[in-house]
């Protein structure tokens, strides 16, 4: 019933819009499709759906969430680039999709010009993590263990991060057995099961760290980790790259600036408001909001791409 009523309401809104001419506030020309580049039911998916719900509530827009999972955002990007850019299609991916993932794949089929960046929602609290029971306090202890002849299995969740793990070994004259898996969840499973000794985790370690099961050995960000502000950054261990990354909403390339601005602001407002379901969830699941938009976001993506190229050079 709710649907029917809502559809009728929108239908009449459409008629109104057609007759009343120019409106001050930007309105979408119809329902907005929200592509979600993550698996159904996970934290990122929940975040997107809660934002969609709040957008409907606040602005009366109709949002249709849709899964577009696969290829680290490649499926979403390839799909979104050919869709209408009038603000009726947006998608949630991660910044890495438009940096390393795109550049390392000659057949990616999309470039930064194919999308319009809207706003980030939250950053990844990326750290190097081990089980507390290992007895390590910082990454220096891992290096010392490796130097002492222990073979260290290092879990990583993407090729870019595997490159960083490799460089960490290079810089300290040790060789890690780098295990590449898909996604931070798989790294956490590996570390918890004892299949890996250390691994990169992008925020999901928070609960384990709070419970005392896991420990952050280093921050992989340019800033300290929110959950463990005292651990050192990777530059203390001879690696100058950082793994700052964000969830990012994008639209098809060349979106009109009024649509871009209206949608970015609408999303950022929700994310920054901890009293909304979405805002509260982001605080709990990802350690709080991080909304970068407009030209600042464009700059960030460009810098990410430049950084990714430098990283690929450093490894090869």
């Amino acid at each position: 019933m709710k649907n029917t009523l809502r559809s009728l309401a929108t239908a009449s809104a459409l008629v109104l819009m057609a007759t009343s001419g120019a409106l001050a506030e930007w309105k979408p020309s119809g329902p907005i499709t929200m592509l979600i580049g993550f698996a159904a039911g996970g934290g990122a998916d929940t975040q997107a759906r809660m934002i969609a719900e709040e957008l409907e509530k606040r602005h009366g827009w109709q949002i249709i969430p849709e899964q577009a999972t696969g290829g680290g955002g490649a499926k979403l990007s390839a799909k979104i680039k050919d869709m209408p850019n009038d603000g009726t299609v947006i998608g949630l991916a991660v910044t890495e999709t438009y940096g390393y993932n795109m550049l390392a794949n000659p057949k990616a089929g999309y470039t930064q010009a194919d999308i319009t960046p809207l706003t980030t929602t939250a950053g990844f609290q990326m750290g190097i993590v081990s089980q507390t029971s290992k007895g390590w306090n910082d990454f220096g202890d891992v290096i010392a263990a490796a130097k002492g002849g222990e073979s260290i299995r290092f879990g990583t969740m993407s090729p870019r991060i595997a490159d960083i793990a490799f460089l960490l070994g290079e810089a300290n004259d040790v060789e890690f057995n780098i295990i590449e898996v898909k996604g931070g969840k798989a790294v956490m499973n590996g570390v918890n099961a004892g299949d890996m000794d250390v691994g990169f985790m992008a925020g999901i370690q928070a609960k384990g760290v709070a419970a005392g099961d896991l420990v952050n050995l280093a921050s992989a960000l340019s800033t300290p980790l929110k959950m463990s502000p005292d651990v050192k950054r990777m530059d203390a261990y001879g690696v100058d790259f950082v793994l700052d990354g964000y969830f990012v909403f994008v639209g098809p390339g060349g979106m009109p600036s009024d649509a871009q601005k209206a949608i970015s602001t609408a999303i950022a407002d929700i994310v920054n408001d901890p009293s909304t379901k979405a805002g509260g969830f982001i605080k709990k699941a990802f350690g709080g909001p991080a909304t970068i938009s407009g030209s600042e976001l464009g700059g960030l993506l460009a810098a990410d791409a430049a950084d990714a190229e430098k990283l690929m050079m450093a490894v090869n």
């Binding site: 029917t4 559809s7 009728l8 008629v15 499709t33 249709i64 849709e66 490159d163 780098i178």
Partner: protein
């Protein structure tokens, strides 16, 4: 075809899968996989993307050769029946999917011509609005159920058509009414 009918079934299947697997191994795999069986990445060896498909095809080859060598004299028999049956089913499904995909847009277009919808609106803005969003699924679904069931028992009746419509409507309602986020075909493709 008479010769084929008398070959042992096992040999026919074995030969077919062996040829198909070999063809994939030689023609497809080398051209559509980026890495090799084993790759040297970051000075360490890793398993490449080619290994798993090769293992898969080797398994098929092993099974196919097993059948080729096995003693079984049950003949292949007549293939016309099943081939015809599946082709008819596929034709009906294809037609229904076309109706499903284009039924909505076509009705909006008619609506525009009749003045029911603002000219130039198109289907996209209406893809989450009743009744438009339901039209493609209903027409395609009704035809699918009606035609497939009538082909099975010859019941090309109006009554059956109504039943088919009712079922398609119920299926659509089950997904659409309680869950506002679920999208029925074709509304994610327009």
């Amino acid at each position: 075809m008479t010769d084929l009918k008398n070959i042992s079934q096992h040999r026919a299947i074995g030969a077919f899968v062996c040829i198909a697997a070999l063809a994939a191994l030689v023609l497809w795999l080398p051209n559509d996989v980026d890495s090799g069986l084993i790759e040297k990445v970051r000075r360490r060896y890793q398993i490449g993307d080619l290994l798993a498909p090769v293992v898969a095809l080797a398994t098929i080859l092993a099974g196919g050769s097993w059948l080729l060598l096995s003693k079984d004299h049950q003949p292949v028999g007549d293939l016309n029946g099943p081939v015809r049956a599946i082709l008819i089913s596929l034709a009906v499904i294809a037609l229904s999917l076309v109706l499903m995909r284009w039924g909505g847009p076509a009705s909006v277009w008619i609506g525009e011509a009749a003045g029911l919808v603002e000219a130039g609106t198109g289907y996209r803005p209406l893809r989450d609005t009743l009744p438009w969003k339901f039209i493609g699924f209903l027409t395609g679904g009704t035809v699918m159920i009606w035609a497939l069931s009538a082909i099975a028992d010859g019941g090309w009746t109006w009554r059956r058509l109504a039943t088919a419509f009712l079922i398609a409507f119920t299926i659509g309602a089950v997904f659409d009414l309680p869950f506002e986020d679920l999208v029925l075909p074709p509304n994610g493709d327009v």
